[in-house]
């Protein structure tokens, strides 16, 4: 049995009276890519944002149940610590417009006021950018503003920024939905690489993407976790009819 890193038990999330995630039980093994898919409005993004406690930033949003990171409930920890351990990449690339590429990568340290030697910083920047497959493209323009990059490059910069903090889990919320096909391919390729060091949870509404990049897939429908299985298994032989309907495009 693989080592489980994130596990939930009877996890529910609400927007006011609106019940958006219902009784979800899931365990996510370490160094895996888990795809979370489902039609829009099925609660998949909300679920993802609950993992690193971004959900609660929206007024009126609440949740209940257990959300365990290494057997410790993240809702017992301070949100700052949770977010240091669980990184996140958003739908739209959001580099800090006031910072250079270099400073964007170490933003987590710099803006948290952590002082480091120049050499240490350089190392983190090079490492993270290399792992985000961006180093070769930007190494000569590290001190330009991050907003000059293309969409795909910006998104990889955001990934570099997230992994620079050495998180244990990386959450990706439809990271390619705002990107063109070529940039999408470069980000997907990167996910394969990242899996060696991190556990990735990726929300996507693109079935092909889920099939291409993930080891395991979770299918959400109307807030419920309908099915959670090995990706190959899920796409070739779904157990639930709702999953089958979704995969074959009968509702969307």
């Amino acid at each position: 049995m693989e080592h489980t890193i994130v596990r939930t038990e009877k996890f529910n999330a609400y927007f006011g009276a609106n019940h958006v995630v219902k009784d979800v039980n899931i365990s996510i093994p370490k160094n895996n890519v888990v795809a979370v898919m489902g039609p829009s409005g099925c609660g998949k993004t909300t679920f993802l944002r609950c993992i690193n406690r971004m959900h609660e930033l929206i007024a009126g949003a609440t949740c209940e149940g257990e959300m365990l990171l290494n057997n410790e409930d993240v809702y017992d920890m301070h949100p700052i610590f949770v977010r240091l351990k669980i990184g996140m990449v958003f739908q739209r690339p959001n580099p800090f417009p006031n910072l250079s590429i270099y400073d964007n990568v170490i933003a987590g340290y710099k803006l948290n006021g952590i002082k480091m030697a120049k050499a240490e910083k350089d190392k983190i920047v090079e490492n993270s950018l290399s792992r985000a497959a961006l180093w070769n493209e930007v190494k000569d323009s590290l001190h330009k503003k991050g907003t000059f990059l293309s969409g795909g490059q910006q998104q990889r910069l955001c990934i570099a920024r997230a992994i620079a903090m050495e998180p244990e889990v990386l959450l990706l919320d439809e990271p390619t939905s705002a990107l063109d096909p070529i940039s999408t391919a470069s980000v997907e390729e990167l996910l394969f690489e990242l899996k060696k060091n991190y556990t990735l949870i990726i929300v996507t509404h693109n079935m092909q993407q889920a099939a291409r990049v993930s080891d395991r897939t979770a299918f959400f429908y109307l807030g419920e976790l309908v099915e959670y299985d090995d990706t190959k298994q899920m796409f070739t032989n779904p157990k639930d009819t709702r999953t089958q309907n979704y995969i074959t495009g009968r509702f969307s």
């Binding site: 406690r53 949740c63 240091l84 050495e166």
Partner: protein, 327 residues
């Protein structure tokens, strides 16, 4: 340590329990976490500071109101409501009536509006419809901004030395007492000063007229004037009115320019060329000289009236604008 951070009340449990998180071997990680503890405390202090500052603004306004009311109480008690209708203001005899100042304020302000509205609306139409960009529009925009930027004491100074002699000559010609200073002169100065308010508000409003509406009319063969009259004016009338209200609020409260050219007499003005006083100008002139408590309090009551009137006018104007922009 009990703490509510990052949106208090949104989560079920916000207790801090971080013992196991510290056992990360990485050097940077440890430093990072230790640093974070300190920051959590700062975070709460910061949130509280924000709340206190927002509260401070509210307290400030409540404080202003309370101060004005409390300081007006002696005058309200002694002089009663009829103070506002009293026609005679004679501090030497201890007779206080605010009517001359109410009348002076209304006369100067409305006269100023009547003079300035054609000009400010013309500016609004030029900037909003005829020439939204280009050199003429830039020139006009800068002119309006400059008019708004000139300090009121300079308007007053200029009025005293340039406008007053001109008005005096004019008064000689039409055969009224040639004082030069007075209600009319103040109104002219005020009318210049308030042009920017109605003009820039009107411009914004005219810009917001949806172009399909205008295009619909043009496509039916309407002329520019017809479009302005039957599409733009009806669509923007509440917004233009709000701009005029903002101008009025400014005119009512304007002190220095008026004080310098109105003539400062507490008699009821006979006509628009008579010297007079406004609420603001009488306060400016007599506040530091008011020896008896009732005298001082009567002046403050004028300030209270001025405050309430301008606040109400500004609030109505802002409400209209808000409704207009939300639609």
């Amino acid at each position: 340590m009990e703490t509510t951070v990052n949106n208090p009340g949104a989560t079920r449990r916000d207790k801090l329990r971080v013992t196991s998180s510290l056992q990360t071997p990485d050097k940077v990680n440890v430093r990072r976490l230790r640093r974070s503890y300190r920051q959590i405390r700062t975070e709460n202090a910061f949130r509280k500071t924000l709340i206190i500052m927002a509260l401070a603004i509210f307290v400030l306004v409540v404080g202003i109101m309370i101060t004005l009311i409390v300081q007006s109480i002696p005058s309200m008690k002694l002089l009663g409501v009829k103070y506002l209708w009293g026609k005679v203001w004679d501090p030497v005899q201890d007779i206080y009536g605010a009517y001359p100042f109410l009348l002076g304020t209304l006369l100067t302000s409305f006269l100023a509006l009547i003079i300035s509205v054609p000009f400010s609306f013309a500016v609004a139409i030029v900037l909003g419809e005829y020439y939204p960009r280009g050199w003429f529009s830039n020139l006009l925009k800068n002119v309006v901004e400059l008019i708004a930027a000139i300090p009121s004491v300079i308007y007053g100074f200029w009025g005293l030395f340039v406008l007053v002699p001109i008005v005096r000559n004019f008064e000689l010609k039409i055969g009224v007492q040639p004082m030069g200073v007075g209600i009319f002169t103040s109104s002219v100065i005020l009318s210049i000063m308030v042009i920017p308010y109605a003009a820039s508000m009107g411009r914004e409003m005219i810009r917001m007229v949806p172009s399909p509406l205008k295009e619909g009319a043009y496509s039916l063969g309407a002329t520019r004037w017809e479009v302005i009259r039957s599409i733009i004016m009806p669509y923007t009338k509440s917004g233009l009115f709000a701009g005029v209200l903002l101008s009025l609020g400014r005119a009512l409260g304007e002190t220095m320019a008026v004080t310098m050219v109105i003539g400062n007499t507490s008699l009821i003005p006979k006509n628009i060329f008579s010297p007079g006083n406004t609420m603001a100008s009488v306060i400016a002139n007599e506040f530091t000289e008011a020896a008896s408590p009732v005298y001082l309090s009567a002046l403050i009551e004028l300030g209270l009236v001025l405050f309430l009137v301008t606040v109400v006018i500004n609030m109505i104007g802002k409400r209209i604008i808000k409704r207009f922009t939300n639609e």
